[in-house]
């Protein structure tokens, strides 16, 4: 019994490990997107990559107008955060003539020619003067082998404690930050704001339009007998699998004929009459019991009244499923807008098109591009959290046999 329980725990643990691993793989790109979209431009170029947005910590010290950046320095063998008060101090690199390997960088101002020092000839043939160099509190007689620039760092708690070291190789002290203003910035770029409203408008039209035509068509197929109905329905079914790519060129020509190229109308009207939506609604309406409808007909109700008062309220879940499906399609579509809305006509761009433009214009600002990507990805995610059920059902309904 005990070993059974143990093996069960083991199996469960392995199960959760597998599931979590996959979940991480699925989530990581999105988490990366959000984290990066909050970064400063410099922060996106660090290697090794840092996940969370970070920036230089600063501190305000008396006597300095601007906040001072903090760096890690070695003070008495301890790693401490010091503030950089001055940088670019001219300095020399000094070493013992007999041991050129261990060198010390010291500001030129602190160095004096050694009393009675004289000159030394180095192995490479250059002649250097011996200097008195203060190193860790002691004065040493060294020669200058190179020049550099140093930064002056002070202890924020006791500004008399000073340390000089090379700024470039110092490890900056950082803290986690967030720059949500990236989103505002990107909305102001490349017509993003307008394309967001365009996308919303197009999506509303397509979703509402498709629901109306699908509900009416689905009702006709499910409940009304007319000659040729079943053949027509088979025809509808047969076309569901036909890929959109087949239509792209003739539909483009049709739009040219209508004068709808570059116009939002071309993103709306061709997409509100679908076989799939009609099929989905028909499948649902066929399950509604007939007796209520017949009673209503007896009472003299018209077909429109029956559809509006009896079928529509019952069809709320099916409608929501259709709406989510259509929403995703309209919101995410890229190929058709790319073809039909000219690159030059910014006014009528939708989000995906603007993102494509942004990719070229801001190619080195990962933070801005990914903020743009987040703007296009977030609305479906929010809707998904609100109505997860309908998304899952719309996925499953595409898998119904038939």
């Amino acid at each position: 019994m005990n070993s059974f329980r143990l093996s069960k725990i083991l199996v469960n643990t392995i199960t959760y490990i597998i599931l979590t691993a996959f979940a991480l793989v699925m989530l990581f790109p999105f988490l990366y997107m959000f984290a990066t979209s909050l970064k400063t431009p410099n922060d996106t170029f660090t290697y090794p990559p840092r996940f969370f947005p970070r920036e230089q910590s600063t501190i305000e010290l008396d006597g300095y107008d601007e906040p001072l950046p903090l760096y890690f320095v070695l003070a008495n063998g301890e790693k401490k955060e010091y503030a950089l008060v001055q940088s670019g101090i001219p300095a020399g690199v000094y070493a013992d003539p007999n041991d050129l390997e261990t060198a010390f960088a010291v500001p030129l101002a602190f160095v004096k020619p050694a009393i009675g020092g004289g000159e030394v000839t180095l192995p490479d043939g250059t002649v250097q003067e011996l200097m008195d160099v203060p190193v860790e509190g002691k004065i040493m007689q060294l020669v200058q082998v190179n020049r550099t620039a140093l930064g002056r760092f002070v202890d924020p708690e006791d500004t008399t404690k000073e340390i000089y070291q090379v700024v470039r190789t110092s490890e900056p002290a950082t803290r986690i930050t967030a720059h949500p203003e990236n989103y505002i910035h990107v909305l102001k770029m490349e017509n993003m704001e307008r394309s967001l409203t365009n996308t919303i408008l197009v999506t509303i039209f397509v979703v509402v339009g498709q629901m109306v035509t699908s509900v009416m068509g689905g009702y006709a197929f499910a409940r009304l007998r007319f000659p040729g109905r079943d053949k027509l329905f088979l025809f509808y079914l047969g076309t569901i699998m036909i890929p959109f790519v087949m239509l792209i060129i003739p539909l483009y020509q049709l739009m040219v004929l209508f004068g709808w190229t570059d116009k939002l109308a071309s993103l709306i009207f061709p997409w509100i009459f679908t076989a799939y939506g009609t099929f989905l609604m028909r499948q649902f309406f066929i399950t509604v019991p007939k007796d209520i409808e017949e009673a209503a007909l007896m009472d003299g109700a018209s077909r429109f009244e029956i559809l509006y008062r009896i079928f529509l309220p019952a069809a709320a879940p099916a409608l929501a499923t259709l709406a989510t499906f259509t929403f995703l399609y309209a919101w995410n579509s890229f190929f058709w807008p790319l073809v039909i809305i000219n690159t030059g006509n910014y006014e009528n761009h939708v989000l995906t098109l603007t993102l494509n433009m942004l990719r070229g214009r801001a190619s080195d600002s990962a933070n801005l591009i990914l903020a743009g990507a987040a703007i296009s990805i977030l609305p479906p995610f929010i809707l998904f959290i609100l109505g997860q059920r309908f998304f899952i059902e719309s996925a499953m309904s595409s898998g119904v046999k038939g």
């Binding site: 597998i18 996959f22 979940a23 699925m26 990581f28 990366y32 990066t36 290697y47 307008r194 409203t197 919303i200 408008l201 109306v212 035509t213 009416m216 068509g217 006709a220 007998r225 007319f226 109905r229 509808y236 890929p243 790519v245 087949m246 239509l247 792209i248 060129i249 003739p250 483009y252 020509q253 049709l254 209508f258 939002l264 009459f273 679908t274 077909r303 995703l328 919101w331 995410n332 890229f334 190929f335 006014e347 009528n348 995906t352 993102l355 494509n356 990962a366 591009i369 990914l370 990507a373 296009s376 990805i377 479906p380 995610f381 998904f384 899952i392 996925a395 499953m396 595409s398 898998g399």
Partner: protein, 559 residues
């Protein structure tokens, strides 16, 4: 009884029917005159030929049916009413759409989009009104409160919607429409709409119906077509017609500007034109064996010690076909097999299952464009996470096993060996969760009793998976594989976004749809592009058929 009233009634109906009869003869006659002008006087000859063809056919059809309707109406038959209603309804719809088009209503969407941003906030008020309306349901035990909520909700929504309409420029739009409609040609179309409308009203009336012996079947059929008509008409115009039209385009050398010549199957011949020639040596120059102005080199190979070279008139097409098939063959199992595994784990009623399912589903609802942008940065050679993780992994392995695998930064998207693989990974990642949900739906259809019976018989986990789950899941598996394959054969957006220029490096990520796009919309050889679309369709059809047959052979159980 009311003899007089009845007889005046009948005279009225008779007059109405006579009016409509006259209308149909008039329509027929007008159509004939129009035909005469089109054929002999070159009216509309500046329109493209295919449009002339369709227009002429529909006018002939109108002349015939309208004449027939007139004759039937004179005989006062039921059929006459049906045909008359159909003709007038179609006339009404098409002239109404034409009116909207000439008034600029469809293009008005652009103007709406311009002002939509300033009114969008008010739509939130409409939503709030709806929510209040819906909240009334909570009080179904107190009918007054329920009614109150609904009323308030309705008014709030209405008020906010009105404000919204004014904000986005309702008045401006109305003024514009008013100016447009007084243009004489527009006024004529509006008049036509009204005429068709009146004809419908005269025929549809209860009295007319009864007088012309309508029955339930006729009413139901008319209502059926009425309900289906918005969808059916739109479907015919925006789907069925383009589908047929696309085949016609593929037989021409159409460029996007409307110039076209019929060239028969020439486009298809160019696509499929191949030539195989033996080579004297492995490195012999291609132009020495084949006409370089027609063929370009596709591949060389060695067969039984002899070298051959294969030339194609359109080598890029064959390369794109190969890339697409490779993409498909790797992506489909890569997204379906993990999905099968995950769905089986998730199906075992463990706590937290819904959360995992939701997480797996996320990638499939995000825009491909957005996802491609994310992965483009993940694939970045110097600062991307993919290389970073690989580096970490190699360092770990090297330190554990004391090996020394070299750590090189892979330039995923700009090296021809890895570019296609990079895109495969993204696509598999994106479709996996969706497939998991599909498999879960299939698993729920398998009767639990089967597993219980198998457990009683002492079957283990694996035995149950192989003997029950897999065979009974076959229809779902078939569906998953088919849809994923069809999608994979159309891969475009990922390539377009992630590789720069699309299809690079070289031709290593050139896919069929990308090639179609380049032909149709960058080189504007739309005839050739349409032909590529049909070849792709045949490939998709063949693959589906193949999978369908293999599913039949393995004998999927129908559950």
């Amino acid at each position: 009884m009311h003899k007089d009233a009845e007889s005046t009634n009948i005279t009225r109906i008779e007059t109405f029917i006579n009016i409509v009869t006259g209308w149909h003869f008039f329509l027929s006659f007008a159509g004939l005159i129009l035909l005469f002008f089109i054929i002999f006087k070159q009216l509309f000859s500046n329109l493209p030929s295919w449009l002339m063809f369709i227009g002429t056919i529909s006018i002939i059809f109108l002349v015939g049916t309208s004449f027939f309707a007139g004759i039937q109406l004179r005989k006062r038959t039921r059929v006459g009413r049906t045909i008359s209603l159909v003709i007038n309804y179609l006339g009404f719809i098409f002239s109404f759409i034409a009116l909207l088009q000439v008034l600029g209503v469809f293009l008005g969407v652009d103007a709406l989009a311009k002002t939509f941003g300033s009114g969008i906030g008010w739509l939130a008020g409409v939503l709030a009104g709806y929510l209040i309306h819906a909240a009334g349901d909570q009080f179904h035990f107190r009918i007054q409160i329920e009614e109150l909520f609904r009323k308030i909700g309705k008014y709030i929504a209405l008020v906010f919607f009105t404000i919204f309409l004014f904000r986005v420029g309702l008045i401006k739009a109305l003024i514009y429409l008013g100016k447009q409609i007084i243009i004489p040609t527009n006024l004529m179309i509006a008049f036509l709409v009204i005429l068709f409308g009146i004809a419908i009203w005269l025929m549809w009336r209860e009295e007319t119906g009864i007088y012309l012996h309508r029955n339930n079947a006729q009413t139901e059929a008319l209502e059926g077509y009425l309900f289906l008509s918005p969808n059916l008409l739109g479907f015919l115009i925006f789907f069925a017609f383009p589908l047929v039209f696309s085949f016609y385009i593929s037989l021409t050398d159409w460029d996007a500007f409307g110039n076209s010549n019929f060239i028969g199957l020439a486009n298809y011949l160019t696509i499929f034109r191949l030539n195989l020639k033996p080579l004297a040596s492995a490195t012999q120059n291609f132009i020495q064996v084949m006409d370089g102005s027609i063929y370009s080199e596709l591949l060389r190979f060695n067969l039984f010690g002899k070298y051959f070279v294969l030339g194609a008139a359109d080598a890029r097409f064959w390369i794109s076909l190969r890339n697409t098939l490779v993409f498909c063959i790797v992506t489909v199992p890569l997204s379906a097999i993990p999905a099968l595994l995950l769905s089986n784990i998730l199906n075992s009623k463990i706590p937290g299952m819904k959360i995992f399912r939701a997480i797996y589903f996320l990638p499939s609802i995000a825009a491909v464009v957005g996802i491609s942008l994310i992965w483009q940065w993940l694939y970045n050679a110097t600062i991307g996470y993919i290389n970073y993780f690989i580096t970490l992994g190699l360092q770990f392995i090297n330190s554990i096993f004391a090996t020394s695998y070299p750590i090189a930064l892979i330039r995923w998207l700009s090296e021809s060996r890895t570019a296609l693989l990079a895109i495969i990974i993204v696509s598999a990642w994106q479709t996996m969760g969706f497939n998991t949900v599909l498999f879960m739906a299939g698993l729920q259809n398998i009767p639990k009793e089967l597993y219980e019976a198998a457990t009683v018989d002492g079957a283990g986990r694996w035995a149950k998976f192989w003997k029950i789950t897999l065979p009974l899941l076959a229809p779902t598996t078939f569906f998953v594989i088919t849809t994923t394959t069809i999608q994979a054969l159309q891969v475009f957006e990922q390539v377009f976004i992630m590789t720069n220029p699309p299809g690079s490096p070289g031709t290593s990520t050139l896919t069929i749809v990308l090639y179609l796009y380049q032909n149709g919309f960058q080189r504007f050889q739309q005839g050739y592009g349409a032909a590529i679309a049909w070849v792709l369709f045949i490939v998709i059809f063949a693959v589906t058929l193949l999978q369908f047959r293999s599913q039949r052979r393995t004998g999927a159980y129908d559950v």
